[in-house]
Structure formats: structure tokens, C-alpha cells
């Protein structure tokens, strides 16, 4: 039976009650897009496996569940958040804690970090920087047959806003800890906007943690504008329990001479789908997309990447690696698109996966779509096991089979981890991965939830 009409029906009910729900204290800048977005969602529907981008991802288990809708946190909700403390040692960052994608001091207005970067909720941003928000909001998100993006545009009420004005440089990375905590099963939608203006720099670390055992489903849309000569880095560390679903859509729009990198490290999560769009809109821009996932049990981890070369002389790389064990399944769907005038493009894409068990599976779809002739594009994909020669090499030097396998797998994963620009975090993740590979960490680090 198709579960989708029922879910769509519930969402429509929600939409019809918008006057007292979603629209309540929501700024006009966001509201103006909602009606059209919702009808767009109704047209596209919840993606099923007939949708090319979701061919290998079945959303039924996550979406079919009956959730409470989550719009605005109540004041009491943040007590948990305030107690949370990130356990990564020596991590020198500006720390911020979000609850279910919402900013705790939403009504207090934006805060300015040393160095001049503004942080706060989307609602506050609409009040404080209306013209800036108007200029960038909903300008980079693309639907491309994915109904979940317009769904977010129609229903999301708040989220995170980050703004680095011209030539500001953040002295430390900004860490956003997004806690999932609730007493009910919830479906949360948050909408984020990051603006890095010309010559500015921002480094962002987003950690997702589930701290209560309820079912969660998050549908996140993040739009990022990277101005001329600006630099933006985002690292996502996803640590959620296996009853949670996390769907992210990140749209990174880059102007000329800019640099951006995205790094998705997925350690745990029932269903995780990270979609990252990189649009290179000006000459000489550079972009990197990395991803690593370690999946076991019945997890499903999907990475979707699209790099859009719309201007000449740009470089891009994609590197995605995954280790799949037990009944886990993984999917990689990457596309490099080189537009007509984007000559002198260099674009590379690589996806490698290791399958550890008979019941794990991996589906890959690396794609190239090229309309310019003076380009160098390549992609490579492998699915297989550890190299027997390498194993033999290690074993012939007296390293036992288990340890040798571990070393090789660690090396395999480290290829992605080494691209994390924050040293303390890099070490921490290396550590987590190693523990995970050793089987010492079948749950999220410091987890109190006994999920399956």
C-alpha cells in the first residue's frame, strides 16, 4: 500500500491550519513563498523510488511513521540543551546549541561574535537584516523534482542564520550542536541561511546528536551564499540513533574566486540522506565535497551531490567513502554538470565503498553531464572489499588478520577525514572511527539511549 497519500493528507491538514500555526509570528519575507511552495510540494509529492534521485532510498520507514509536527520550541524545552556539553577535548570553537533545529534565544535578536559574525534565528534575522534576507532567502534552493525542498519552504518556521559581513573573518570555527530531544515522536523542519559576503571567511561545524529515544525525522534546507573571494567550510558530524531519519539539503552558491568545502561525516543514523548542491557561479571558484559513512544494522545512508559548473576556470572535487556492515545499505548519487560556457573546468569525482557482510548493499550512480569541450572531468567508482595484496603485505610482516583489516579500513576512512580543517576534531573523528571499526562503539559516543 502506498503510504504517501496519508502523509500528504496530514501535511495538507497542517497547511490548512496555517493561520494559527506556521504563519504565527512568521515574517512576511518567508511567508510570501509558502503558498507556491506548498502547491509545488503537492505536485511533486514525497519522493519515491521512481524518482531518479531517490532510486536507492526508500523513505517509507521514516515518512510512514506518525509524527507530531514540531514548529516552535517551548521555553522549557531548552533545559536539556543548556545542560549539554560537547565532549571533544581541546576543541577551540564558538559553541552554540540548537534544539531540534531551533535557536534557543530566538526572540532575543542576533548576537555578534568577536570578529563580526552575526548569529541568531531566522526570525530575528528578518527583523534585523530584512534587505539582506530578502536578497538571499530562497534564491539558491532548487526543487529539481524533489518535493521535500518546497515542503520545507512551505512549512519551516525557523532555523539558524549566520552572516559574515564583508571582509570579516571568524577567529575560531563556529560549532552548532543540534540536539534532538523531545517527549514525542517529531517531524521537524528547519530552514537555515548562511551569508558569507565578499572577502569574508567562515568555518562551521554542525553536530547532530539525538539525546532521547523518540522517533525523529528532520528535513533541513540550508542555503549558503559565498561571495567573491570568500571562504566557507562546513563539517557535519551526524550521530543519531537508528530510529531517526535525517534529510539535509544544502545549497552552496559561490561567486568568483571563492572557496567552499563540505564534509559530511555520518557515524550513526537510521536513515540519513545528505544532498549537497555546489553551484560555481563565478570564475576561478573552487569547491570540495567530501563524505564518509560507517553503517551497520539496518541503516541506510545516502549521499547526493551535484556540482554545477556554471562559469569557466573552476575546480571541483568529490570524494565519498563508505563502509557497510550487517544489513546496512548505502547509496551514492553524484553528478557533475558542466554548462556550455564553463570552459577550462576541472572536475573530479570518486566514490569508493567497502562491503563487509553478505547482506549489506551499495548502489552508486556517478554521473557526468558535460556541455563544454575544453574540460577535464573524470569519475571513478569502486565497490568491493579490502585489497588482498595489501592484507598479505601486512600479514607477512607479522600483523594479525584482524589488525591488518582494521589498519586498512582506517586508512580507507582517513582519506576523507584528513580533509577536516579543524585539528582537534580531526583527531576526535579518527578516534571515533577507529573505535567504531574495532566494534567498541556500537552506539553513538556517550549515548544514554539504548537504541537498536
Amino acid at each position: 500500500m502506498d503510504y504517501r497519500p496519508e502523509v500528504t493528507g496530514r501535511l495538507t491538514e497542517l497547511w490548512e491550519g496555517r493561520e494559527t500555526g506556521i504563519l504565527k509570528d512568521s515574517p512576511e519575507i518567508y511567508n510570501r513563498y509558502r503558498t507556491e511552495a506548498f502547491s509545488e510540494f503537492l505536485r511533486l509529492g514525497i519522493p519515491d523510488r521512481k524518482n531518479e534521485a531517490y532510486k536507492y532510498t526508500n523513505l517509507e520507514k521514516s515518512f510512514g511513521h506518525r509524527y507530531e509536527q514540531y514548529f516552535s520550541p517551548k521555553p522549557g524545552d531548552f533545559r536539556e540543551a543548556e545542560r549539554f556539553h560537547c565532549e571533544v577535548e581541546d576543541l577551540d570553537v564558538w559553541n552554540m546549541v540548537l534544539l531540534n533545529g531551533f535557536f534557543p534565544r530566538g526572540d532575543e535578536g542576533l548576537a555578534m561574535l568577536p570578529g563580526g559574525i552575526w548569529v541568531g534565528s531566522m526570525k530575528a534575522a528578518a527583523r534585523q537584516f530584512p534587505s539582506l534576507v530578502e536578497k538571499h532567502y530562497n534564491k539558491y534552493a532548487q526543487n529539481e523534482n524533489d518535493g521535500l525542498v518546497p515542503l520545507n519552504t512551505a512549512l519551516a518556521t525557523d532555523g539558524l542564520f549566520l552572516y559574515a559581513p564583508k571582509n570579516t573573518v571568524n577567529t575560531k570555527p563556529i560549532q552548532i550542536v543540534n540536539l534532538l530531544h523531545s517527549t514525542q515522536d517529531i517531524f521537524a523542519q528547519d530552514r537555515n541561511l548562511v551569508v558569507v559576503e565578499d572577502g569574508a571567511q567562515m568555518s562551521l561545524l554542525v553536530c547532530d546528536h539525538a539525546i532521547s529515544p523518540q522517533h525523529y525525522l528532520t528535513n533541513t534546507v540550508t542555503e549558503v551564499y559565498v561571495g567573491r573571494n570568500a571562504r566557507f567550510e562546513i563539517i557535519r558530524v551526524q550521530n543519531q540513533h537508528n530510529d531517526s531519519g535525517k534529510i539535509t539539503h544544502t545549497f552552496i552558491h559561490q561567486e568568483r574566486d571563492s572557496f567552499a568545502s563540505s564534509n559530511n561525516i555520518t557515524l550513526h543514523g537510521g536513515l540519513v540522506r545528505n544532498a549537497t548542491w555546489h553551484r560555481l557561479n563565478g570564475e576561478n571558484a573552487e569547491t570540495h565535497s567530501y563524505g564518509l559513512f560507517l553503517a551497520d544494522k539496518h541503516q541506510h545512508i545516502a549521499n547526493f551531490v551535484k556540482v554545477d559548473h556554471a562559469a569557466p576556470n573552476c575546480n571541483s572535487t568529490q570524494l565519498f567513502k563508505g563502509v557497510l556492515d550487517e544489513n546496512a545499505s548505502g547509496a551514492f548519487n553524484g553528478r557533475i554538470m558542466v554548462h556550455k560556457d564553463a570552459q577550462k573546468t576541472n572536475a573530479f569525482q570518486s566514490s569508493n565503498s567497502i562491503i563487509m557482510s553478505d547482506t549489506a548493499r551499495m548502489d552508486t550512480k556517478p554521473q557526468l553531464e558535460i556541455y563544454a569541450d575544453d574540460v577535464k572531468c573524470s569519475h571513478g567508482a569502486t565497490v568491493g572489499q579490502l585489497d588482498e595484496n595489501a592484507l598479505f603485505y601486512l600479514r607477512s610482516r607479522g600483523i594479525d588478520a584482524r589488525e591488518a583489516k582494521l589498519m586498512l579500513m582506517f586508512g580507507f576512512a582517513h582519506d576523507v577525514i584528513k580533509n577536516i580543517p579543524i585539528e582537534a576534531l580531526r583527531e576526535r573523528i579518527d578516534n571515533l572511527v577507529l573505535q567504531r571499526l574495532r566494534g567498541e562503539l556500537s552506539r553513538c559516543a556517550s549515548c544514554a539511549i539504548q537504541c537498536n
Binding site: 536507492y56 563544454a372 569541450d373 572531468c377
Partner: protein, 482 residues
């Protein structure tokens, strides 16, 4: 050698499509349109037994419930299926017993195309089944082959003379419900080639089918069924041409291959349907379903294709590797020039243990051509030790064309090793400069480089085809420099 090259150069510079003539021959056609009556009419014209008509009607009824698929990376103008003539046959006396019975106009046509229909030309050593407007005209060397137990004849003859074999294998690889065009073909196919190689026989010559569309407003729907019984071997060639017309003509064929235990089938295609003119007007829509099954252990199917013609090419010659240790291969060169479009590739479905597949695809785009590789490598849970290697390279000549790669890799077994590599680039200026420096013109240099680039695939073709393919490549790319 030098002379050969001069000749080649002459051909290259003379350019356009040289098979574009129309043969003035009396053709028997039925009215335009498609309905159950038309299906019945085709069947009765071919004097088919009841089971064949049943099969056609089943397919037709299913086809009516289907819609034309839209997923390909192609821009296909709306096709009016009621505006096509579904049956056209060169008029001739029933059953030509010898070559002298065949219409001399027809013979001239095939002479012009360089197809040896006369059995005296033994030296060429190729047995030909010539199909014109989807009716088999003449099959050569039948008797010689029959001595070894090989059946090589037109499909309609096979239906009459070997009904048990046809019934056993027809639609066993491509079921009538398979896809829109295969279903349409199942309903209205008019003829094609049938070939059966008995146990342990190694077919001594290349078998070949030559397809020719002649009549206007017609669609060509032929069906080829190739069966290699245990330990048999056959190498099969397929060539095609069509006249130049302003309209688009539909060609929707089905090819089925069955390889039993230890059998090996090599299927080569040089596809040169009329590609349309420089403005993209006219040309053939080549929407073909080709699939082979390695049914028994240790069997092997190898597809080689050189695709230079057709306005739109949309096909995926595939292998189902069911037998243990079976092997599937796919070698392809696809050229799109002017406004040609191609969405082609393969499917390798690994079911048996230790199955191997190799995919080598070379795409060349020039002018406004759009060239896509789309391929599936699927390893099922039980396919222990499956191995695949895929390589897809694209070459871009010009800044208005496109080259795209859409591989699908689905792996459900941990012991499988699947590799995919793809590159896209253009011909290096340094390479052209190197040739120019040595007195080779830019056009020739490109021809040289393209041939080198495609060599890996062309080497897989039988000798006669390889020469033709090389020439074709250069002609197809004529005028694309600059």
C-alpha cells in the same frame, strides 16, 4: 598502402551520407495506422500459424496500456504511431529459389551497398541474410550451413519450418511486456533473422544480417533470434543503412541471444542508419532492444557496436549472466555529429557465481551532438565472486556538443568487485600541433586521433567490419573541425 590512404582521404572529403539513395522498386505496403486489424493483417500476410498471431495480439493489447518512456537524456519529437506504415515488402515472386529469382533492382541495391549476396563470392566468407523494409530478401550460404546443422534463415521461414525452436526461445530473453518499443515490435514485427547453432558446432563463417529501410513513411520492426546450443560458437554481424529523407523513420528492433552451456556468441553491429542532415532534419529513430542470456555455465556473450548513424540512438545491448563462470562483454563506439543524439550503453546483470563482465564505451560528440552513456551493473546476492570493469571515455570535438555519463552500480554481494572509470576531455591541442608539425592537416589529425581512441573497440570487430567502421568514423566526423 599509400593508395589506400588516398582513397580513404578521398572518401572522407567527399563527405556526406553515401547510402542515401532510394531504390525504385515495387513495394507492397499496407495502409498507415495501427490497430488489431493491422496486426492480424501482418500475421495473415506472413501466413503465420495461430500461436504466432496469439503472441502478436497479446503484445498489442499490452502495448495499448503502455506509455512512451521519457527518462532518456534525449529530445524526441512526438511520434504519431498511427502515422506509420507497419508493413512494407519488396514485391517479388514467392520464395526465391536462387539468386536469379530475386528482383535485379534489389540485387543492384545490395551491390551498391557492398553486400555480397552472390554465393560465388565465397572468398568473402560471410553468410548474409538481407532484410529490406523488414522483410528478408535473401539468405546466402544456407545449404552449406545446413550441412553442419546450422539453421540460418529469415524469421518467417523459421516460424514455418522450425516452430518448436521458435516457440521455445521466442520472447524468452525479451518478454513481450519488456518495454514500450519491444512490445510494439512483438506486435508488429515483420521479419528478421533466425539462427540456431547446434551442440558443439563452431560456425565456420561469419553470419550477417544486413538491414535496409527503403520505402518512405514506414517503420522497420525486425526481430532477430540467435541460439547457440551447448559448446557452439558463432560470430554474427549486423549492418544497416537507409535513404535520406526529411521525415523521421522509426526503427524498433528486438534482438534476443541465448547462449547455452559453454557456448560463445559474438554480436557485432555497425549501425549507419541515415543520421539526418546538417540541420537535424530527418533521420532514423533507432530504438532497439538487444539482450542476451548466458543461460548455461561457462558461456559467453560479447556485444560490439559502432554507432555512427541515426538521428536518435536509444539502445542498451545487455547480458544476463545466469550461468556460473559466464562472461559478458560490451564494446561500443558511439559518434554523434550535427544534431544527432545517442543514449546508449549496456546492462550487465550478474546472477551466477564467478561471472565476469567488461564494459568499454567510447563516446565521440561533435557539432550539436549529445552523447550519453547509460549503463547498469547489477550484482545479485548470490553472484559470489562477480567481477566487473567498466570504462567510459568521452571525447568532445567542439563547444556546442555534450557528453554525459550515467552509470548505475548496484552491488548486493560482498565478494563482488566492481570498478567504474570515466573521463571526458577533448583532443589535446598539443596532439594536433604535433601532427600539424609533421605535415598532417588538422582534419586528418583528428581522424587519426579518433581512430586511435576508438581502436580498442574497433579491434574487437571482425576484419571486414573493422575497415568499414574506421572509414565510417572519419566520414561521420567530416566537417566537425573548428
Amino acid at each position: 598502402m599509400e593508395k589506400d590512404q588516398d582513397k580513404l582521404l578521398g572518401e572522407v572529403t567527399s563527405g556526406e551520407y553515401k547510402y542515401g539513395f532510394v531504390t525504385d522498386i515495387e513495394t507492397e505496403i499496407i495502409p498507415k495506422g495501427l490497430s488489431e486489424d493491422v496486426v492480424r493483417l501482418i500475421s495473415s500476410k506472413k501466413e503465420e500459424p495461430g500461436w504466432m498471431l496469439e503472441f502478436r495480439l497479446k503484445a498489442f493489447r499490452h502495448w495499448q496500456t503502455m506509455k512512451m518512456p521519457k527518462w532518456a537524456h534525449l529530445n524526441i519529437p512526438e511520434i504519431d504511431f498511427q502515422d506509420i506504415i507497419y508493413y512494407a515488402a519488396p514485391k517479388q515472386k514467392k520464395g526465391p529459389d536462387s539468386l536469379s529469382d530475386v528482383d535485379p533492382e534489389l540485387l543492384k541495391t545490395f551491390d551498391k551497398l557492398g553486400i555480397p549476396l552472390e554465393e560465388q563470392k565465397r572468398l568473402t566468407g560471410v553468410a548474409v541474410d538481407a532484410v529490406m523494409d523488414s522483410v528478408s530478401v535473401k539468405t546466402t550460404f544456407r545449404e552449406t550451413l545446413a550441412e553442419m546443422g546450422i539453421i540460418f534463415c529469415s524469421f518467417s521461414e523459421a516460424v514455418k519450418e522450425h516452430p518448436t525452436l521458435v516457440q521455445k526461445y521466442l520472447a524468452s530473453v525479451v518478454p513481450y511486456t519488456d518495454n514500450f518499443f519491444a512490445t510494439l515490435n512483438s506486435a508488429v514485427f515483420s521479419d528478421g533473422s533466425f539462427c540456431y547453432i547446434p551442440k558443439g558446432v563452431r560456425c565456420p563463417m561469419e553470419l550477417s544480417t544486413y538491414f535496409r529501410i527503403n520505402a518512405s513513411n514506414t517503420g522497420q520492426f525486425e526481430r532477430t533470434l540467435l541460439i547457440a546450443d551447448e559448446d557452439a560458437y558463432v560470430s554474427y554481424l549486423e549492418g544497416c543503412t537507409a535513404p535520406m529523407r526529411d521525415e523521421n523513420q522509426l526503427h524498433a528492433a528486438v534482438v534476443e541471444i541465448v547462449a547455452e552451456r559453454g557456448a560463445e556468441v559474438k554480436y557485432s553491429t555497425v549501425q549507419n542508419w541515415y543520421p539526418g542532415d546538417k540541420e537535424g532534419k530527418g533521420g532514423i529513430f533507432n530504438f532497439v532492444t538487444k539482450r542476451g542470456i548466458c543461460k548455461g555455465d561457462d558461456s559467453k556473450i560479447s556485444w560490439t557496436q559502432v554507432e555512427t548513424g541515426s538521428a536518435i540512438t536509444w539502445k542498451y545491448p545487455s547480458c544476463i549472466l545466469r550461468g556460473n563462470n559466464s562472461t559478458g562483454e560490451f564494446y561500443s563506439v558511439a559518434v554523434t555529429n550535427n544534431y544527432q543524439q545517442a543514449d546508449t550503453g549496456t546492462k550487465m546483470i550478474h546472477i551466477g557465481r564467478n561471472t565476469k563482465s567488461t564494459i568499454v564505451s567510447k563516446g565521440i560528440s561533435a557539432g550539436f551532438g549529445q552523447n550519453s552513456y547509460r549503463g547498469l551493473v547489477k550484482v545479485l546476492g548470490k553472484a559470489e565472486g562477480a567481477r566487473n570493469f567498466s570504462q567510459c571515455d568521452s571525447l568532445l570535438l567542439g563547444d556546442k556538443c555534450g557528453a554525459h555519463t550515467f552509470p548505475y552500480i548496484e552491488v548486493d554481494n560482498p565478494s563482488a568487485i566492481v570498478e567504474h572509470e570515466a573521463t571526458t576531455s577533448r583532443i589535446g591541442e598539443d596532439q594536433i600541433f604535433y601532427c600539424n608539425q609533421r605535415g598532417i592537416s588538422t582534419e586528418d589529425a583528428i581522424g587519426l586521433i579518433v581512430n586511435g581512441y576508438a581502436r580498442e573497440v574497433i579491434n574487437k570487430l571482425p576484419m571486414e567490419f573493422a575497415v568499414e567502421a574506421q572509414k565510417l568514423l572519419q566520414i561521420s566526423l567530416e566537417g566537425s573541425v573548428g
